[in-house]
């Protein structure tokens, strides 16, 4: 099978050897503009370990058949690999059953699915949807669309100066009319880790159903949906070092069963006639048409890779990078970052006084350092901190202290060029 055994995974019980981990990611070993690549745009997308590339290759080279409808060998292998990926996702999230795992195109589609099905079936005029001020656009716009359609209202728990939503504020915005609370586990713009288990308890007490946007937490924290207590959890394959175009919606079986279908088509039906169509059981009810089979298999490989590596160990290593980064960057004159939450991941939304983020990113790129400049699809939080954009450096478990030093040197060069 496509299970390339990773050297890093085999070393799971030893101290974190970042060079061994890096060797699993071929894209990291390249020169960009004449310098060794320093990839610090992990919040946008992660690089892919060999195990993922091999799984994709294996599907296309050996097992390429359609799923759930072929009697032949290739189709059987494809189906087996696809369903195995579902079980891997179940284990990765600590979900009760594989049928609670719905494959989607990504976090965005997962949230849209819940809004369009659960939301449309359960929300009425006057009901409320609670979000926070640090959501990604993909956890804002689907709810606005739902609100327009149903007459429900979107409410927003505001962010304090450190980049946190305080519990009192969260509770203040909850009401008996709150039917859905949807919030990010980790902010992609600030790196804030939200107390989602506590928020979920409060939201449940108010009678709301809870969706957690896990796009930024699935790559960086061990996740147990049972411990979070939420009702839906969404994440994207490409951010957990898997392929693009695939993601997961986890939902409680009883909720998924009661929800109307999302899209109509093949695979989502039990039987079709022009008089009457009955829908397939979950999760297939929500997987109309031929899905991204290779993507799901590649995602399964990515999740197996992460499990072998150990998410808790990866998170501990990233925390060390985060404190080293904070120390190193705080020492640079004219450089600050927004988001000083007490619980943070290694994300630095940088502001260089007097220099626009795009100019910062261009200078860093010529040094081979990949960061993102812009509003990070989170305009409300940029407005909250009074900046149109930032230069974001977001780290992962394969980054090094040496790369943090390269970033700091790059920022010093920015200040030299712009003489500020």
């Amino acid at each position: 099978m496509a299970n390339v055994v990773s050297i890093a995974a085999a070393a799971a019980s030893l101290p974190w050897d970042v060079e061994v981990v890096r060797a699993d990611f071929p894209a990291l070993a390249q020169l960009v503009n004449g310098h060794p690549l320093v990839y610090l745009d992990n919040a946008a997308t992660g690089q892919k370990p060999r195990a993922v590339l091999a799984a994709l290759d294996n599907y296309y080279q050996r097992d390429c058949g359609n799923i759930h409808r072929s009697v032949h060998q290739l189709g059987e292998r494809a189906t087996e690999a696809y369903e195995r990926a579902r079980r891997t996702a179940q284990a990765f999230l600590g979900a009760a059953e594989p049928r609670e795992i719905v494959f989607t195109r990504g976090t965005t589609e997962a949230i849209n699915l819940v809004a369009a099905t659960y939301g449309a079936a359960n929300l009425r005029a006057g009901d409320e949807i609670l979000l926070t001020g640090m959501e990604h656009h993909s956890n804002i716009v689907p709810w606005q669309l739902l609100a327009e359609r149903t007459g429900a209202r979107v409410k927003v728990a505001q962010v304090n100066d450190r980049g946190e939503v305080e519990m009192e504020e969260f509770e203040r915005q909850l009401s008996p009319r709150t039917k859905i609370a949807a919030f990010g586990h980790i902010s992609n713009a600030l790196g804030t880790v939200n107390p989602v288990a506590e928020w979920t308890q409060r939201a449940h007490a108010a009678g709301a159903v809870v969706l957690v946007d896990g796009a930024q937490s699935a790559p960086h924290l061990p996740i147990q949906v049972s411990a979070l207590g939420c009702d839906f959890f969404a994440f994207s394959g490409h951010k957990v070092f898997g392929p693009t175009g695939i993601g997961v919606l986890w939902g409680r079986a009883e909720l998924l069963e009661a929800m109307p279908p999302y899209q109509g088509g093949g695979d989502m039906i039990a039987s079709v006639s022009f008089e009457r169509t009955t829908y397939n059981r979950i999760p297939y009810k929500f997987e109309a048409g031929t899905p991204h089979i290779a993507g799901a298999i590649g995602l399964g490989a990515a999740l197996e890779y992460l499990q072998a590596l150990g998410m808790a160990r990866a998170a501990a290593y990233e925390q060390d990078l985060a404190s080293y980064g904070a120390e190193r960057l705080a020492a640079l004159p004219g450089v600050r970052w927004i988001g000083q939450a007490r619980e943070r991941t290694a994300v630095f939304s940088l502001v260089v006084e007097g220099v626009h983020p795009h100019d910062v990113a261009t200078v860093l790129d010529t040094e081979g350092i990949a960061v993102r400049a812009g509003h990070h699809c989170a305009q409300p939080i940029m407005d909250r901190f009074g900046v149109p954009a930032t230069t974001r450096a977001s780290l992962a478990f394969y980054n090094t202290r040496g790369e943090v030093d390269r970033l700091a040197e790059g920022l010093e060069k920015v200040r030299r060029i712009f003489q500020c």
């Binding site: 010529t366 149109p388 954009a389 712009f418 003489q419």
Partner: protein, 150 residues
């Protein structure tokens, strides 16, 4: 490998730090807005025309160094130009920043030739040309905001 000092030439850094004509000209009779969704560059461009000739130009807004310098140098370059001449200038400027101008053509652009380095940075072309798209809108006078995404 693109050279940074080709992009951030002295002239560009100077205009980025101290933009000229960063004001609303008295008697301005044309105005247009431009917005670059990607990086949030924003400009309001003002013109005063007399007999089809730009007599004064100024701008307000905020954005990156390439954008700010481009807007600043634009307001200097279009003064005294007819609408036709201004549009011709934009055509030649656009050819320069997209890498379609040779040395001789670049030299006809005077100070604007400083933007030649932009062509090595495709994602920055929008930053250099936003003010010019906005100029076109101000001249055609339809008043609709300009976005570089179009």
């Amino acid at each position: 490998m693109p050279e940074l000092d080709e992009l951030y030439q002295e002239l560009i850094l100077d205009h980025a730090k101290r933009p000229r004509n960063f004001r609303v000209p008295e008697g301005a009779d044309r105005r247009a807005e431009g917005f670059n969704r990607l990086c949030g560059d924003r400009i309001t461009l003002f013109l005063r025309l007399e007999d089809g000739v730009v007599r004064d130009a100024g701008f307000q807004g905020a954005g990156c160094a390439i954008f700010t310098a481009s807007a600043s140098l634009l307001t200097e370059a279009v003064k005294g130009k007819s609408e036709q001449q201004a549009e011709d200038l934009f055509r030649r400027f656009h050819a320069l920043v997209t890498g379609h101008a040779d040395q001789a053509q670049a030299e006809t652009l005077g100070k604007l030739a400083a933007f030649g380095g932009v062509s090595a940075y495709p994602v920055r072309v929008k930053c250099a040309s936003l003010a010019w798209h906005t100029l076109k809108a101000a001249l055609s006078g339809d008043g609709a905001p300009v976005s570089t995404e179009e």
